[in-house]
């Protein structure tokens, strides 16, 4: 496809893509290759990195292997990012699509509904939801999804509003197509590009949000995540800076590469930006 070609010519975006791909591989296969629980206390606490070849990145406050934590954490952090984004899209897209396509009172109703979620500050809302339903991967993921769908809905609504009067949509109407068909097959495929770009940013934001929640002690205690590692290391930044630095770096790298990829996508998908013809 065209987009992939354009994208593959964008060096910066490709760097982002490869970093991300590596993280994805680690998430998928890391735990298989690196067995042993990340919770196991294996060495003396606070072993600095690169001192013991068995525990390359050292050990944490309880003597647990940091590298193991990082590998297992990749899976959760990426999963939380991806799944919450997916849920947000699953809520936001239909809502925005209906509001934008039908307009009128449907739009009014759905947008007021969206507004309610936007009016409570999002981070605060996430905290409350997680606290209420008790921190677990599920509650964290849902909380992040719940606070991040409104922008999706707004974006999709905007796209639908501008596309619904496109002539090919009118042509589909004249063909006697059903509303569902028009929404799903005519408009949605054409509004995907900005949604994809937004989604890439949302994954990044979700990873940050998960780590912020963990920092406040609202992480899932059962699973190892980067956010957990930073949260647990915050009390020992002074003794062992690397304990928060390493997962911090992992988060920053992931977010950064998602960003780069997102921007690359934006340029590839947006003919206005790809600079083909400017007058």
């Amino acid at each position: 496809m065209n987009i992939i070609k354009t994208l593959s010519q964008n060096k910066v975006a490709m760097v982002g893509f490869f970093v991300l791909a590596i993280f994805c591989l680690i998430a998928a296969f890391g735990p298989l290759l690196y067995d042993g629980s990340p919770w196991k206390m294996v060495q003396r606490p606070f072993l600095p990195p690169f001192e013991n070849s068995n525990y390359l990145l050292g050990t944490d406050t309880l003597g647990r292997d940091v590298l193991a934590g990082l590998i297992y954490g990749t899976r959760i952090s990426l999963l939380v990012g991806l799944v919450s984004t997916l849920i947000a899209l699953l809520i936001g897209i239909p809502l925005g699509a209906y509001a934008g396509y039908f307009g009128g009172w449907v739009d009014e109703l759905l947008m007021r509904f969206t507004e309610i979620f936007q009016t409570v500050p999002s981070f605060a809302l996430a905290i409350v939801i997680v606290a209420i339903f008790e921190p677990s991967v599920y509650s964290i993921t849902s909380a992040i999804a719940i606070v991040s769908w409104p922008p999706v809905a707004r974006l999709v609504r905007g796209e639908f509003m501008s596309l619904r009067s496109q002539e090919y949509v009118l042509a589909a109407k004249l063909n006697g197509q059903t509303h569902r068909n028009i929404i799903m097959r005519e408009i949605l495929p054409n509004s995907l590009s900005p949604i994809i770009v937004l989604a890439s940013l949302m994954v990044a934001t979700a990873i940050l949000l998960e780590s912020s929640l963990s920092f406040l002690g609202l992480g899932d205690p059962e699973i190892m995540s980067w956010g957990y590692m930073i949260g647990a290391a915050k009390t020992v930044v002074r003794q062992a800076w690397w304990l928060s630095f390493i997962p911090g770096l992992a988060i920053a790298l992931t977010v950064l590469s998602l960003n780069l990829l997102g921007e690359g996508l934006n340029e590839a998908l947006n003919p206005k930006m790809s600079g083909k013809r400017e007058n």
């Binding site: 309880l62 008790e134 677990s136 059962e222 647990a232 009390t235 002074r238």
Partner: protein, 496 residues
Amino acid sequence: AEPKDGGAINVVVQPEPPSLMIGMYSNGTTQQVGGNIFEGLLRYDKELNPHPLLAKSWENSEDGKTWTFHLEKDVLWHDGKPFTSADVVFSVDKMLRKTNARLRTSLEFVESISAPDDYTVVFKLNKPFGPFIRLFEVGTMPMYPKHIYAGTDYKINPANQHPIGTGPFKFVEWKKGSYIHLTKNDHYHVSGLPHINDLYWHVIPDAASRAVAFETGKIDVLPGGSVENFDVPRLTELDNTCVTTDGWEFFSPHSLLWLNNRQGPMADKRFRQAVMYAMDREFAKNVLWNGFGKVANGPVGSKTKFYDKSLPNYEYDPAKAKKLLKEMGYDGTPVRLLPMPYGETWQRWAEVVKQNLEEVGIKTKMVSTDVAGWNQKVADWDYDISFTYLYQYGDPALGVSRNYISSNISKGSSWNNVEGYENAQVDKLFAEAAVAFPDSKRQELYSKVQRQLVEDVPVAWLMELEFPTIYNCKVQNLIDSGIGINDAFGTAWIKQ
């Protein structure tokens, strides 16, 4: 050296207390700050012996049922009104009965309180109650001004926002979220005290920031528990930094795991013993608590009265734990572990325990909650294993028995016998020991009950905690009682 007057001390207060009304709110920090404003009749030294404060002397009748207190004269409330026996009667009989749940239980032994004259108070008990003399600490029985509270709704009295006590420091200002400012009481009844002019209690919500504040010299005193344990060794190595574990003798916080005796594998004594053997409590002590504290080997803390030294101890022995589990036929039912939502150390500790349990084959699932959720779960018995720690208040009758006697099983409250342990013999022994007379008799009974409990393991004891207080060495005489920081800074002074 001779104490010098003047200067200010900056102390961390964490978390910010809901109120300074000691006795109405029994939060730790309410007492830390309020303990400077209010006073009880007595103080206790590090060996838990009573000393005069508002009462200059006291005596007990032969049968142990009548206690007479003679009050200090010339004591003024911060608003200038004199303190008299009427205040004592009002505080104990009216106000505290209503506002202080913990004291209310003990006051059941009190038949009447009377004030024959302005400076004498007489307590008549219905039985000789051994621990009675340990009830007069400021956190348990603070004195309130009758002229302000009589006839009002205590909870919403406006004076609660500007507390009036008899203590060495007066309330000045509370900037919510920032600091509480107390200043010297110039008319304090102990002459020459206090030395310090101003006391500032700073609210700093993040533990790392509290450490930073201490390092940068903005804070002089870090009360026990206000920095994470991991930070303690580093801070103690700083120049001019002193550390002490004194000042917790009265409370003697005893940490333990509530094992829900009612259900699942925990109903089996062998499982509970296996838990004891499975835990590497020395590791937890050394890594998590930096070697402070002492591994607990029974229900009564070693600093509490009637502790029995000769009790057997559960050593770390995973093999034995596995054996016990096998014997009972543990089928791998997962148990839910509820950590204490009080900060990183507790969280880490839960992780260590979880790891320990899993290593002997006990499947453990960590359940995370906040304070409210924790209370709810524990109170509703909706847990399998839960961390907690309990104050002992110097006497098993005050701080220990409450956790084991069956009359104290009551759903909906989180600080009684929530593990659901029922043993008629234990009930009986505790009941007798509380009112036995004299102390030798009590010791005998308490030794018996301790032995029984250690065998039954209704809960898994972890450690006698010690919360090191870290302070700038210029602060002298910081801790001079069994309740440490929770008592007044009345005798503290600053070396120039």
